[in-house]
Symmetry: D3
Subunit: 134 residues, 6 copies
Amino acid sequence: MYIVSVRGHMMIAHSFRGAAFGDAQRLHGATYIVDVEFRSPKLDPDGIVVDIGRASGAVNAVLAELNYRNLDEDTVFSGQNTTTEFLARIVFDRILAAIRRGDLGESGRAVESIRVTLHESHIAWAAFEARTDS
Amino acid sequence: MYIVSVRGHMMIAHSFRGAAFGDAQRLHGATYIVDVEFRSPKLDPDGIVVDIGRASGAVNAVLAELNYRNLDEDTVFSGQNTTTEFLARIVFDRILAAIRRGDLGESGRAVESIRVTLHESHIAWAAFEARTDS
Amino acid sequence: MYIVSVRGHMMIAHSFRGAAFGDAQRLHGATYIVDVEFRSPKLDPDGIVVDIGRASGAVNAVLAELNYRNLDEDTVFSGQNTTTEFLARIVFDRILAAIRRGDLGESGRAVESIRVTLHESHIAWAAFEARTDS
Amino acid sequence: MYIVSVRGHMMIAHSFRGAAFGDAQRLHGATYIVDVEFRSPKLDPDGIVVDIGRASGAVNAVLAELNYRNLDEDTVFSGQNTTTEFLARIVFDRILAAIRRGDLGESGRAVESIRVTLHESHIAWAAFEARTDS
Amino acid sequence: MYIVSVRGHMMIAHSFRGAAFGDAQRLHGATYIVDVEFRSPKLDPDGIVVDIGRASGAVNAVLAELNYRNLDEDTVFSGQNTTTEFLARIVFDRILAAIRRGDLGESGRAVESIRVTLHESHIAWAAFEARTDS
Amino acid sequence: MYIVSVRGHMMIAHSFRGAAFGDAQRLHGATYIVDVEFRSPKLDPDGIVVDIGRASGAVNAVLAELNYRNLDEDTVFSGQNTTTEFLARIVFDRILAAIRRGDLGESGRAVESIRVTLHESHIAWAAFEARTDS
């Protein structure tokens, strides 16, 4: 299996509901350093998994929709805790949609699985990974 | 698959037996920076894999048992080389026991697999990963 | 010159005023990974710059005052943009106050200068450094 | 599964053919920081996956063949873009050959799969992973 | 002293002349991860050292002039070994010129010193630092 | 000022005396990742601060004297706590001696100051820096 990974980041505000979250129930924020891995069993004729320019473009477009925002005010997330693992899934879903729209070109359509990792600090991260046909 | 990872560390002394270890047969030591990944196919009602406070507590409790010790004197390890890969397994076993005792709560019991990585330097690390029902 | 550095982190929400900030004028947030360096020309009789337990305790106490908060609502900062460089100074001032209160013991009083670095992402950080008698 | 990983690096020049590569069609270069992971379901009698000295030796020997070279002039790669993902596969193939020659000893022969990761910058990396019997 | 640092990177080919360079006399290449630190004794009315958007723009413009090139063919460097420390100075000089042209605005003109660090691998880096009035 | 830095590491056992050290009074150990920075106001005719091969050789020779040892048994350190900051000074002194012996060649003799940093974990490091004529 071949894997190519590109990195971006976003800086958001949010709060959590539920006693388990303790002080994180207050409005606070996070920098998420985001790695998106594209996995494919073979290389295209250029010798690549995906066009890294297109991949970076797609990742940055997804992160720009969330960046510099208070996620508590995004109606798409109403009734949901925007935890790191949940946001990893959101980024996954949106990257997958970009692939299906053809934003990553033909080699993008051959991607078999994707892993999205959000680093929230030097001591904690979360990820979501799944096949693109799931 | 969702994954949440928390980091801790421990600083131990030990020595190895076997000609293959060269100078590491002498009493020496290591800082192990330890990442414990919890993997689950779904999120709980709070939107999390595990309660990160409980997860950190369990990881720190396991590391505290080993931290600031000479592992050569721990009778649990007698006759064993406490290599990085062996210690990754020890931490795995003890985290698994904590989950089974309920230390990570109900969401902890839903964890499907665990990966423990011990970074011993900037150029070497070892890990152990397995399903929680193995 | 001897230097000892300890690391902590905080996760806050805030917004900036001024056209130069662009989208960062919206309410957003950040994880700041915080390194506090203590500098001294000599070691104390134990062979240390400062008691690292006390130093970590002081750093964590300072960060706890800011952690999991919306800094826009902290009246101490009213009329101020809580930029990364400004917050580095705030942490500096509060660590210095802790030293002067004796929270870091006698060796803490011998610290000649302090540097506080806040990493806001993998591509940007800011710092403030000054002598303790300034 | 047990995993042991060792790190090395190489500094090479090359250029790419294909409009998708943009400015990277010009002769340029890269530092690749290379992690080679050896995976095995069990430890040998010494408590290790592979002899880390032999593993490092094999990795460094493979990297030395490529290091400080212009890959455009290496006839082995003629007609091929030496992309990061392609080079990860090359390193994989050569490490596998070393294992089959016995360079990593008996424990090396028990390695079940290998993953080779090449970090090309702080924001991009590529990898190749496969079973040793593939 | 306040410090703000931004990161970029470049990927270049080059070779060195001189027996001390050993195999690095051959045409090879490097990824340089570049940190540019701007130091100032005070903050501007917005609470910043420099406008980070302008600073990033200036750094990226300087790196773009060198990126994806064979430095052996850049006549500006003829007769010079483009070592990591030498390139740190080149980036410094060009950032300083950008400041003097006003590319970083009024707050940029107040920058007292600059430090440019080029990371060439996980085990080596070089830097150049000087006052802006030197 | 030009700076060149090279990295190595060592893995040692030791214990501390003094109530302030708590559990670290027990025999334990550490991996120290060691950065040695060489600072010089000018480059030599080859365009370098020091011959990086010689510098790495000198650093590795110094670290080899300490690596894979129990520092409690090294009579050179008797009556001393081998804290991170103290060991940074030891490495400094030995690198300085190597420069004075001529191990880093003529360019090595022009080095004006040296900084030695020992990273003991992901959350703590210590350093010693001084002029070479001090």
